[in-house]
């Protein structure tokens, strides 16, 4: 029999998180700092709208780009929060999570051989999606000394004649890094000079703990070069609803919509009705969750300082990215031993790119009570390792 598989797919490495997932799910009593989703339930009024839409029998497809009502709310929201202006009719589309938007945005913009710049550590899907879109991913290894922000210099050095798209994953999973306006202005200059486009994954836009998040599309000259991706998962604790959106100039959205209509048809209808409620009446929920994440963040920054584990202060998402190089182990070894000996799951930094070596991703999408228990065990483990080293 012939090999049924595509070589290109087979060559793609499975996500590094998978291995840990498999070990942890075997361990019944393990606790975790390893999740990438909020611990809050979706606010009840949002769930209630979803239920209500089902009761009313709204169980049909929506139009490919999404419910008009939802697209209008998305457009209003971006104007209200980020002073971004998108025509709901031509420049907004609703997707199955931010993940779908990443995939189809790359496919809509890439010709075979084009290069896509992917700063890492970052979310697991940019590199494989670029490969699936026939692009050549070019990795930038972000540096701890820059607080894992992307600098104009690093970007400039990665650009070739074939570069077409730059992925901008901020606020960042796994590092918690953000890009402030001055950082964005610096890279925008490079992007415009080299005539590039940006895929800006702003799924954590609502979760910043300094000033409000700034979108690169706000920087003059960048709106027309940016595909902005956002969604409901992180801001409204709606991961399981699978709902995101993309905003971009009409020409790009039109082509993304073509892929979406053939591959997906439309995002889940129930989720779309719930999301309308989220955008209309959810600002208070977002503020409440942000405040609690921020309290946990401060708790962790302090805890790592007391433990003596080097770690920059993260201002975005719900992750902290401590350095464990002092122990002379790989991230993978550290995470495996920590899980076996203390029964706490964390994700090794390498799951998000080779340059995550020497770091761990700690999620604070857990109650303070849970964090205290887990961090207590981490402190014990670190103490044990230091004693071994003597």
């Amino acid at each position: 029999m012939r090999n049924p598989l595509s070589e290109r797919i087979v060559e793609i490495k499975p996500s590094g998180i998978r291995k840990f997932f498999d070990i942890v799910s075997e361990m019944k009593d393990a606790i975790s700092l390893g999740v990438g989703e909020p611990d809050f339930d979706t606010p009840w009024h949002i769930r209630d709208e979803g239920i209500y839409s089902l009761e009313k029998g709204r169980t049909f497809y929506t139009s490919n780009a999404g419910l008009k009502e939802l697209k209008i709310e998305i457009s209003n929201y971006l104007e209200r929060r980020f002073h971004l202006s998108y025509d709901y009719d031509k420049e907004v589309m609703v997707t199955v999570g931010g993940s779908e938007a990443i995939d189809i945005a790359l496919r809509a913009m890439i010709d075979p051989g084009d290069e896509v710049i992917v700063p890492q550590p970052s979310y697991v899907s940019y590199e494989p999606c670029a490969i699936l879109a026939n692009a050549v991913p070019v990795i930038i290894n972000l540096k701890a000394e820059n607080e894992f922000r992307l600098t104009a210099r690093e970007l400039e050095d990665a650009i070739t004649e074939k570069t077409k798209v730059v992925v901008l994953p901020f606020p960042n999973n796994p590092t918690g890094a953000i890009m402030e306006r001055k950082d964005l202005e610096a890279i925008a200059e490079v992007i415009i000079r080299h005539d590039l486009f940006v895929l800006s994954d702003e799924i954590y836009a609502e979760l910043t703990y300094k000033d409000r998040h700034v979108s690169i599309a706000e920087i003059p000259g960048m709106w027309e070069r940016t595909v902005l991706i956002n969604g409901f998962s992180k801001a409204y604790a709606m991961t399981g609803w699978r709902l995101g959106y993309a905003c971009a100039p009409a020409a790009i959205i039109a082509q993304m919509l073509k892929i979406h209509q053939f591959a997906i048809m439309c995002a889940p209808t129930t989720s779309q009705y719930a999301a309308v409620e989220a955008l209309k009446n959810g600002d208070g929920d977002v503020a409440m969750m942000r405040e609690q994440y921020n309290q946990r963040r401060r708790y962790l920054v302090n805890a790592f300082r007391e433990m003596g584990l080097p770690c920059f202060e993260p201002y975005g998402a719900f992750y902290i990215f401590p350095c464990i190089k002092e122990f002379g182990m790989t991230s993978d070894e550290f995470a495996t031993r920590f899980l076996e000996e203390e029964k706490v799951a964390v994700v090794p930094g390498t799951a998000f790119g080779d340059c995550g070596e020497g770091f761990l991703r700690i999620s604070y999408a857990y109650s303070l009570e849970n964090l205290k228990v887990a961090i207590g065990r981490l402190a014990d483990f670190v103490g044990k390792l230091r004693a071994e080293q003597k």
Binding site: S15, I17, F20, F21, V24, S25, A30, S32, G34, V35, G36, E37, D39, Y123, V124, S125, N173, E291, Q295, R296, R298, Y299, N302, A345, V347, A351, S367, L368, N370
Partner: protein, 160 residues
């Protein structure tokens, strides 16, 4: 800081002061001073414990009582409210808009104790026109806390 501090201790008044300072991103001495100031100003009125008495062997009966009263000249409802709230078995007294005037929550050892409070003490008061007593059969949620349910983490333990 004041508002956020209040939101934290409203949910957890037993939180360690040092930890409170850490999560609010301020110095411990500032937390101590701010709390003392708010106690002084009467903003913080107490540090109570939310108890689900149902789960103990101690018998308790709670009731809500709607009261219609005649307000007194020059003193409105305050005087009559005061006469009522001075009884220790009275948990809360609210002035209410709508079909009646005062809402009282009451806790007693037995049905009999509650009803004798109403018939012997409350109803005979001069300005009380009528009362309607509602016994609480089950508390689902109290002080913003769902009593019936324990939090369960249903998430996958590791996800990207």
């Amino acid at each position: 800081m004041r508002e956020e501090l209040l939101r934290v201790i409203e949910k957890n008044s037993r939180i360690d002061l040092k930890e409170l300072a850490v999560i609010l991103g301020v110095e411990e001495i500032d937390v101590v001073n701010e709390m003392a100031a708010m106690e002084e100003e009467g903003i913080i009125c107490g540090y109570h414990t939310l108890i689900d008495w149902e789960k103990t062997s101690i018998e308790k009966v709670s009731a809500l009582i709607e009261v219609r009263v005649t307000p007194q000249r020059g003193q409105g409802f305050d005087k009559i409210a005061e006469r009522i709230y001075k009884y220790p078995e009275v948990h809360a007294v609210y002035l209410i808009s709508g079909g009646y005037d005062l809402l009282i929550t009451l806790e007693g050892k037995s049905l009999k104790e509650v009803s004798s409070f109403v018939s012997d003490k409350l109803a005979p008061l001069d300005s009380v026109l009528s009362t309607a007593t509602h016994f609480i059969l089950k508390k689902y949620k109290d002080h913003g806390t769902i009593l019936a349910r324990k939090y369960e983490d249903n998430r996958e333990k590791v996800s990207p």
